[in-house]
Symmetry: D2
């Protein structure tokens, strides 16, 4: 019987151009099956198609919402999915990359609906995703580096500091960072590695190029010194995944070489 | 026409024995009207009665839930309340002291219902309470110390560190701490002071005396060196409330003299 | 026999206009004898004279340098000093307020002499001052708040963050902050309280008014919202000194109401 | 003319068994020339011999002390050294791994001599080493990852927290961490990468096996889950060295999988 193929699951990939997408691409290229979770079935499928077209093996597992039960339900489908190439899979790496994408405004502009979304992304979905991932990891044998699995979380500047227009965004990111630390401490002894990456600065994506002032982004395309790139963040996740049990990282920060901070 | 009487509002007072209760008592003693918010009308009323019986002026404003709208609705009643002693009030100090009181257990024991409660207390109610408080402060003149109002948040050890059995508790407390920092930065320029107190250790209350191992608490009653007392935390809130505009504190920690940390 | 008079010692008062001076003034006004330590005998004496002229009781104890032994030697003189008003003293509060005042420049401009000064102020003098203070506190009875003494340290923005022109300044301030935390943990159980105040922003003094760009300071004199004032920081030290044993603070930050941070 | 060979310099390698030694071995294996700096000429030479015997190219550059000028003088010799294999070198990576090795005791046991050593290791030597490294990096072209050089610092648990027996150790480690952050911010724009690794726990070395209680270390040799290994920390330095300019890390932590923290 064939060895199980390693499986990577990511929650939150948007249009595939950001951190989640780049990490999915990297793990696909490294031979992982890729399960894509999110709320937009169409975008997920489109990105799965892209990965499949370029030699990867990916499938979309949309969640009806980022509520606790909906995330668990979508996750459960991953574990029983029959991959086209056949043979068993083993969930090895899980990345929570969903982010609250509400507007950056002051307290008075934060709505109940935005808070609902914020809490779903950073609390309800995060706990459900972590739980399902770790339950799956627990069934794995140790790999060559002494791990049963790696659970990754995408942080941001707002994970470390609240600021004038980030009351909502940061509250969620603080919660997520806390969760990653609690889980690192709780599950290390089961050889399950939980890590958090603080992406300190906006990542070069179509969305940011559109959203941010031109003055700020105008040289991103030509100057690698000033853009925080999703592909390089993916490299950080790859590094964390492959750390030996004798030196695991909980948290690292990343920013472009010339970033002022 | 008489000067308005200063008004203090606190969200989360439990049975009145903890931080919220002690702070309410102190502000009542200092001449503030006291508005008590929480989810249990009976307990609120009982504590209001206690404050009124000992010379204070207090009233209960129960919220139907810690959802955003319910908190706003309960808060609105405070601002139009006709106090028995007559004459206008001015909201001067608001304390968010509600805490997620779920069990301290590992990730696998955290339920969807607990996460719902956690998010309500630390996100939905917190944003609503902050918003309503600051809206009220904005209508105030500057006081003698150069303030329109003071918004206070109760933190805990879990505000700074996640740990093996505090995945849920800490996620909420991190979120709350972030909110307090964002708001400090956003509203300082309007002379509204937002502060966060990290209570590093269990506070001596009936609940903790019941919940914690006897071995840990057995000398609390007789040894002031080893108990973190609610009345002393109230002193910290009083100090923060009265800081001059030329040196405002965002955060301070408190623990008993002999606490190991 | 008369009760001993409480004694306050401060290391680093400059010309008396900054934090050290304001705190000395406040403690003198509150009935403390004041021992002034520093490296400039003339300035110390001048400030002692000022305090004495306004009803305080102060004396100068210059150290030959901020080397370990020189600080211990100067400190020893305080403990045997015969105060003009007669009767015994008891050292109750000690404030390390000495700061490295070298230029804010990049790494390449930091000289060996500046590093020598930096290390003396923040390491050698700090350890000597802490040691002598705590040795004296140990001989005290508990006061009404359950303390034998309070050891205070003045921090700065640079205590929390290194930055492009503060490689030297911050290295020293980080070291000092660490010392304050270690000592808080080590001596709390002896009822000796160690605390650290992060002064986040330049304090309004003649020196800063001269050093900083006019554009930045031009309204300090008339606008209390934008100046961090030494007298208010002194209030923070007074508050910390008088905290009850059941809720001691290790660290608090202070900044002006309108400070951007 | 031949391309210059990449050069790695490390300050502090002890007997070669710890972090400095493991990192030197890894860089030697990866084709770097290795310059060993420290205070003990004999140990340095012995370790250089070991590296040379196993196919590396290493040389010893002892400093007369960890004073500022002595470190600069020893460093200068590296840059003009004629390596046996001939041809030019280019300093590409520098690791400050020197640590204050004084006893872990309370404040009252810290001596002036220990403070002197502490300040030399963490302040005087650190600034001199950083300065000389960065001056050398500035003369380099960008490499394939967009860097002129990488300056690394070894941190510890004591870099983040002072504790009851680490007043001295932590003061130094805090200072060093601050320096690394300041320099990251100052020199990123020159494409010089400065990073700090927090080694959270004792590293398995002969020294620690001897120093720590047997009960604590008895299974280190057989259980990779509970030992923090120098070779894995070296992997972290290798990863940091090879990060692309679009996502540089200032700080990461490492600990063994089962470490309680």
């Amino acid at each position: 019987m064939s060895d199980p193929k390693p499986l990577f699951v990511v929650l939150g990939v948007g249009n595939g151009q950001g951190t989640g997408g780049a990490t999915a691409r990297l793990f696909a290229k490294q031979g992982y099956r890729v399960a894509l979770m999110g709320r937009d079935p169409e975008r997920l499928q489109k990105f799965a198609n892209e990965l499949n077209a370029s030699g990867g093996e990916a499938a979309a597992f949309p969640a009806a919402s980022y509520g606790f039960e909906d995330v668990l339900a979508a996750f459960a489908l991953i574990l029983t999915y029959a991959w086209p190439s056949g043979g068993p899979s083993e969930l090895r790496v899980a990345l929570h990359n969903a982010g609250y994408a509400g507007p950056r405004k002051g307290l008075m502009d934060v709505t109940a609906a935005q808070l609902h979304d914020l809490a779903e992304v950073n609390v309800h979905a995060a706990f459900a995703f972590a739980r399902a991932s770790i339950e799956a990891f627990r069934t794995n044998a140790l790999d060559a580096r002494g791990k049963r699995g790696t659970l990754l979380f995408t942080g941001a500047t707002g994970s470390l500091r609240g600021n004038t227009t980030t009351a909502a965004f940061s509250a969620g990111k603080f919660a997520l960072r806390s969760l990653s630390q609690s889980l690192n401490k709780e599950f290390g002894k089961e050889n399950i590695h939980v890590a958090h990456v603080v992406c300190d600065g906006p990542i070069m994506t179509d969305l940011q190029l559109e959203r941010l002032p031109k003055e700020f982004t105008k040289d991103w395309g030509t100057n690698a010194d000033i853009r925080l790139s999703a592909a390089s963040i993916a490299d950080a996740y790859w590094y964390l995944t492959n750390q030996d049990r004798s030196a695991w990282t909980w948290e690292l920060d990343v920013r472009s070489a010339h970033e002022k901070w």
